[in-house]
Amino acid sequence: MTIPAAAAGAYASTARLADPSAGLGKAVGAAGGGSDSSFGALLKDALAAVGEIGRKSDAQSQALVAGKADMIDVVTAVSETEIAVQTMVSIRDKVIEAYQNIMQMPI
């Protein structure tokens, strides 16, 4: 997981959302780490990554119930999923908070 890069990308996308004029948005995007992806694409990627980890822990849990997996593997897989979900939720919350801050800015 590359949280700093994701955060930089998220910051750039928020900057672009706040300013519809693409030129400035791109400029901020370049300054914010060179990420050119939209916030939607970023969120989609993050969700896919978290979903993948979640599927792994689900498979481990099912194998445990079937008596085929080690309890330690299941616990570590589930805790990894928990951390991944928490990371994604925290970043999403922060980005949306920043977006709302900008949207509510008195003009």
Partner: protein, 136 residues
């Protein structure tokens, strides 16, 4: 992420200690196992060994159970002529398992397991504290 690596490494420690626990419980359970035929050898105490292993996918040294050794010390001999496993002189060999040694070994396994659990807990706490930066 490095935090995930340290959790995976600690998990390998948990697995190794769980395997050691299995060997200790075998020793304790078989502490009184006598030979199956008269004059034969009884259960011989097993010894767990640990090896550090390079996990290529993880890029770190993890721990794994090594080959299980056997304790070559002498068996205890008791004079029990009526025992089905007694030899011509009426002696029965009992396993070379000392419950006191097994109990200290068990405590050590317990403490090592707890230490690895603590590593996982501390790592998770560090991840949480990092995420808390975003929640201010």
């Amino acid at each position: 992420m490095d935090f995930m690596k340290s959790i995976a490494i600690a998990a390998s420690g948990l697995r190794a200690q769980a395997g050691r626990m299995q060997i200790i419980s075998e020793n304790i359970a078989n502490a009184d196992s006598t030979p199956s035929q008269p004059g034969g050898d009884p259960y011989r105490r097993k010894i767990a060994t640990f090896q550090s292993e390079m996990d290529r996918a993880l890029g770190a040294q993890v721990v794994a159970l090594g080959p299980v050794g056997t304790d070559s010390s002498d068996f205890q001999v008791k004079h029990e002529p009526g025992h089905p496993a007694a030899d011509a002189n009426g002696n029965v060999k009992y396993p070379n398992v000392n419950p006191l040694i097994e109990m200290t070994d068990l405590r050590e396994a317990q403490r090592s397991y707890a230490a690895n659990i603590n590593v996982i807990g501390a790592t998770r706490a560090m991840i949480q504290r990092t995420l808390d930066i975003l929640k201010s």
